[in-house]
Symmetry: C2
Subunit: 181 residues, 2 copies
């Protein structure tokens, strides 16, 4: 099988790092707890006058590189590969690309090794990538083409109301997706 | 149609820039003229003791960003898009990814505009990308999957002996590929 795995909030804890930095840097500003996140783009759940500040957190140099691996994610992609599947990290750069592009490569090298740098597919449009499965936290993954993969929704607070898709709460359960429903 | 266009040596003059820098920086060292290039990877056509030096040229900071657009390439991809095709820049990072990854994005922004940054698909394996055509100078484009696109070979000295593929000598002639043989 070809398994495409999203990076932010599937492999790497983008939401958690944002939350920690936001609270540390702006302890007096309002915040949205992780379990209360209802909108995919973080800034859209903050008051309009704080949105640029929100974006300045995750667009900062070093942010993407510093993300902690989500529990179980690294072992799971290695396991997928060891069991003979083709695994790729399929990730979209942030709109402000200057820092994240290189840092995504550095993150993969640091946490998974240089071999995994070759498995990165950096694209804004994931519908153009071929695979059997795309494991992604984004509620709807759309683009120029009709996707050939099945979107497996990776559980997050902001996608909990999405229906009609198979889900993973953790990558450790990845084998359950292999059994077609 | 979905048209995937390679970056190095289709849109951007990687070979030319390498040659100019090599001659300027090492005027006393042997060199391979552009028309005598027979091997896709430049360093493999140089004596073994010069290969690290060759690589140090194209892996240098600023190299990828400084590449000149190949004559006609920018107008042609804009024309493809204006005529209703979906055009993507499908490009593989160099093995030493530290400089080229970000610089490829900067190159696209500088020469084509921010909108085209969103059209970059950065992948080592182009067979995983869907499209009708891939315009690429690499003699053989292989990977994990059987490609769904037709490889249109972009003429370079090092691919002149490849047979069995349709070719473009310049992107200006791109419309000729639309007529299926």
């Amino acid at each position: 099988m070809i398994i495409l795995v999203d990076m932010d909030d599937v492999l790497a804890d983008f939401e958690g790092e944002f939350f920690n930095r936001w609270r540390a840097q702006y302890p007096d500003k309002p915040y949205v707890a992780l379990e209360d996140r209802t909108i995919f783009n973080i800034e859209n759940q903050y008051p309009e006058d704080l949105r640029e500040l929100v974006k300045s957190i995750y667009n900062a140099p070093g942010f993407c590189k510093s993300l902690k691996p989500i529990d179980g994610s690294l072992e799971s992609v290695l396991e997928m590969q060891n069991e003979g599947h083709e695994v790729y990290i399929c990730t979209a750069p942030l709109t402000v690309y200057e820092n994240c592009v290189l840092e995504k490569y550095q993150w993969a090298e640091q946490h998974l090794g240089l071999e995994w740098v070759k498995k990165i597919i950096l694209t804004r449009d994931k519908t153009l990538v071929r695979g059997d499965f795309l494991i992604d936290d984004k509620p709807e993954v759309t683009g120029a083409a009709q996707p050939v993969w099945e979107h497996i929704l990776f559980n997050k607070a902001y996608n909990k109301n999405v229906t009609g898709k198979r889900r993973l709460a953790t990558l450790k359960d990845w084998k359950t997706i292999l059994t077609k429903p």
